[in-house]
Symmetry: C3
C-alpha cells in the first residue's frame, strides 16, 4: 500500500498546498467528499458537491483556485489547489492505484516464435501466441490468450488485457492499453461485387497506433486495404467501437462507446464523439469537432463545431429545428381539436 | 435422452393435465405444432397458431386456460393447461435440454493460482487462467480461454462460455451464464483532459453481478471508477451491449442487443430496453419503464412509462408527433404541387 | 514474392490486354495510380482519379472499356480492359497477396477430442480446443484460442482467426473467413417472464453458414431457439454485427458494421444494410433491398427498394419528407422573427 505525505503530493502534483494543519498525515487513498476519512484525499470537481466540502472528514481536498477562495477560511482541511483538479485527481490516483498483474515474467506456457524479440522486462502470460518477427517492448504486459501476429510491434509499458488480438504487421506505440477482447488488424470490409460472387479484396495495409492510446473492451480496429489505419497519440476509444479500414484518427480524441467510423474517413485532433455516433466513409471531421450521441454524419464537419442529429446538422440548428417542429405540431393539434 | 411421462410433467410444471388418453406415452422432446409427433410436447403461445392445434400430431399441448376452453372438446391431444404457457414451455424444455459440456473436471492445461479456491465439482477447461484468491463455486463450468482475475468470485452453477474475461475484484452470483466473449471488469472510460494529454483515472471499483443473470456474447460490463458497477438478479442482457462504469441495473430487466448505457446511470427493476437503445450517463430509468428500439435517452424516465424516439419522449406522444408531422408534410406538398 | 507476366494476368483475369509495350515486365504488386511504379499494376475504378492516368508510372492499368476509350491512345501504359475493373483488381490482388499463417500443422498444444476428425492438411494452432465429433476440412486454418464445440463442422479452405468461438452443433461451409473474436452459436435471447424470475428457454437450434461467407471481428451469430439460424453463400458481414436467433439471411448480402438483426427475421438475397441499421424481429426484407445507415426497420421491406430513416420509409420519400420539414421550419422561423 502506498502512503504519501502532503509534501510528496505537493511535489507530484505541482499544486499549491494550504492549511497544512497536520503535516505528518500519511495519505493512503482517495475517496469522494462524503465518504473520505482523514487519511484520504478527496476532491471537488463538480460544483454540485460544494456543500459537502463543509462536512467532509477528508484530510485533504483537491480543488480549483476559484473554489478555494469560497471556503479556504471556513474549513480546516488541507487544500490542494490547482488549475485543473480533475487532472490532479487523476495523477494522484495513479500513484495510489498502480495496476498489478497476477503473473510476472515470460510464461513457459506461451508459444513464442524464435525470431520474436521480447524485452526481458516484459511479461507474457500463459496461452499467448507470438508470431515470427514480433517485438514486445520493456515492461509491457501481455495477458493470457492474446495473439500477436507476425512482425507486429508493441512499445514499452503497454498492457494488453486478456484475449486481445493484434494481427500481423501492426504497430502499437508506448504506454498503450488495450482492454480485453480488442481486435487490431482484422480484415477491412472490402469486396468487389460480381454477379454471383463477392470477391474479397486482400487487406494488405496494417494498423499504426501511436503512444498513450487506450482502446475499450471488444472494440475493433481494422487493418487498411493498401495503407495503414492510424490512431493518433493520446486518443482514447471506449468499448465496442468500430474503426474501419484506412480511417485516420488524430491526437487527443475521445471516441465513446459503440461509435462506428466507416472506411477512409479522417478525424482531426481533439475530436469528441459521444456514444453510438455513426460516421460515413470518406468524410473529414475537423479538429475539436464534437458529435453528440447517436448522431449520423455523412459529410465533412468543420473544425470546432458541435453537430447532432441523424442526418446531423450544427447542434444549435438541430435543437432549434426540433423546437420549431414541436411548436408546429402543437399548433396543428390545437387547430384540429 | 430424457423421457418423461405425463405424470412427471404434471408434477414439474404444476399444471392441470386433461385428455389423458394415452397415459403411457414417454415424451422425448418439444416441437412446434406443425412439426411435433406424438412423442413430443407442443405449445400454443401465440394465438396466430390457433388453427394448428386442430391438425397437430403432438402428444400434448401446453396452453392457457382461456385457449383450452376454445378447443378442449374438439381435440384428442393431451392438454397441459397453465397460467403462463410460455413459462411452462421454458421449464419443461429445461428438463429435456440440459446443457452438456465437452470437458469435465479440472484440466491440467489450465493455470490456476495456488491461492485460488476451486470447488471440486467445478469444471475448468484447458487454457483457462485463474488468478490468486479467485473462487469458483460448486458445479460451475469455466470454458477454455477464459480469464479469471485476482480475488474474483463466481458462485455455484454458473457457466462461463469460451473467451470470457472476468478481471480482478469482480463478483458473479449463482446460476449466471456468461456467453462467449463477454468482458466483465474492463476499465471504465475515465480520463481527465489536460492540454496535451488525457490522464487516465484509475478504475478501482469492481463489478457485482447478482444471481441468475445472463449476459450475451461479446457484451462488456465495465468496472466502476470508485464503487462497483452492479447488475441485479434475474436481469438478462443480450449480445454486444455496453454497460459503462458505475451503472446500477435492477432486477428482472431485459436489455436487448447493442444497447449502450453510459456511466453512473441507474436502471430500476423490470425495465425493458429494446435493441440499439442509447442511455446517457447520470440519468435514472424508473421501474418497469420500456424504451423502444433505437431510442436515445438523455433524461430521467418515470416508472412504468414507454418512451421512444431520439431524443426520446413518451411513446404515444412520439407516435402522435410523427403522425402529425406526416400530415403537415402531405398538406404542404399538396399546396405546392 | 509472386511475379506475374502480362500473359499470366491476361489468362487469370480473362481481360483484353492492350499496349503491350514491354512484354517482359514481371509485375510484383498493386498500387494506386499516384504511387505505382513500372513493376506494379494500378487501377482506375473511381472516375475521380481519371487525370492520374496521364501521370502514373504504373506498368499496367486495370480499367473499363468505356474508360479505355478516353485515354488508350494517349498513354503508353499497358491497359487491362474488363467489364468490372473492381472485380479484376480483387482477383489479381488475391494472387499477389495470399494469406500466410505464422504456424502450420496440428499443434501439440491444442486439445482435440479423439472423436474429432481433423483433415491432415488442416492447421490447428496452439491453445485451440476441439470438442467430440467436430470436423475440420482440408486446408482450413484454426488460429490460437479458438473453440470448436461438439459435433460442429468446418468445411475446406476456411480461416478462423484467433479467439473465434463456434459452439456445438454448428456448420460452416467452405472458404469461409471468421475474423478474430467472432462468436457463432451463442445462446439466443429467449426467456419466459414470470412474476419473480425470467425462465431461460433452452436454445437448441444451431447455426448453418454456407460457403464463402465472411464475418467481421467480434460479430455474433446466435444459435436458433428450435431451428437453425442461417447465413447464405457469399454473404459478407462486417464487424460488431449482431444476428439473433432464427434469423435467415440469403445469399450475396452485405451487412455493414454494427448492424443488429432481431430474432426470426428473414433477409433475402443481395440485400445491402449500411452501418448501424437495426431490424426488428419477425420481419421480411426482400431481395436486393437496401437499408441506409442507422435506419430502423420494424416492418416488411419490399424487394429492390431503398429505405432509410427511423422509423424507416422509402428513401426518396424519406429525403423529401426531411426537405419539406426543413422548408416548413424555415418559413415558421421567418414569420416569427
Amino acid at each position: 500500500m502506498t502512503n504519501l505525505s502532503i509534501n510528496d503530493i505537493s511535489k507530484i502534483s505541482n499544486c499549491e498546498v494550504i492549511n497544512l494543519n497536520s503535516e505528518d498525515i500519511k495519505f493512503s487513498g482517495i475517496a469522494p467528499l462524503d465518504r473520505a476519512d482523514k487519511n484520504q484525499i478527496s476532491f471537488l470537481i463538480n460544483d454540485k458537491y460544494l456543500n459537502d466540502v463543509y462536512h467532509t472528514n477528508a484530510g485533504a481536498i483537491i480543488c480549483s483556485k476559484k473554489a478555494a477562495e469560497l471556503f479556504k477560511e471556513k474549513v480546516a482541511n488541507c487544500l490542494i489547489i490547482c488549475d485543473n483538479p480533475h487532472v490532479t485527481l487523476a495523477k494522484i490516483s495513479q500513484i495510489f492505484f498502480k495496476p498489478t498483474h497476477p503473473f510476472n515474467g515470460i510464461s513457459d506456457h506461451a508459444i513464442i516464435d524464435k525470431s520474436a524479440e521480447i524485452h526481458p522486462s516484459a511479461t507474457i502470460f500463459p496461452f499467448v501466441f507470438i508470431g515470427p518477427g514480433a517485438r514486445i517492448g520493456a515492461h509491457s504486459v501481455i495477458y493470457s490468450n492474446c495473439f500477436i501476429g507476425a512482425a507486429s510491434t508493441i512499445g514499452e509499458d503497454c498492457i494488453l488485457y486478456p484475449n486481445v488480438v493484434l494481427r500481423e504487421g501492426c504497430r502499437i506505440g508506448n504506454r498503450c492499453i488495450l482492454n480485453p477482447g480488442v481486435v487490431v488488424g482484422g480484415d477491412g470490409f472490402g469486396f468487389a461485387a460480381d454477379i454471383n460472387e463477392n470477391v474479397k479484396i486482400p487487406q494488405i495495409g496494417g494498423v499504426f497506433i501511436e503512444d498513450d492510446v487506450e482502446i475499450g473492451a471488444n472494440s475493433t480496429i481494422d487493418r487498411g486495404a493498401m495503407s495503414d489505419t492510424k490512431i493518433g497519440r493520446q486518443t482514447k476509444i471506449d468499448n465496442l467501437v468500430m474503426v474501419a479500414h484506412n480511417v485516420v484518427i488524430g491526437e487527443l480524441c475521445f471516441i465513446a462507446g459503440q461509435v462506428g467510423i466507416a472506411g477512409s474517413t479522417t478525424v482531426g485532433n481533439k475530436v469528441v464523439m459521444a456514444g453510438q455516433v455513426g460516421v460515413s466513409g470518406h468524410v473529414k471531421i475537423g479538429d475539436k469537432a464534437m458529435l453528440t450521441a447517436q448522431s449520423g454524419i455523412s459529410k465533412n464537419i468543420p473544425s470546432e463545431q458541435i453537430w447532432g442529429g441523424s442526418p446531423a446538422r450544427p447542434f444549435k440548428e438541430y435543437t432549434a429545428h426540433l423546437a420549431t417542429l414541436n411548436k408546429i405540431v402543437k399548433q396543428t393539434n390545437k387547430k384540429s381539436s
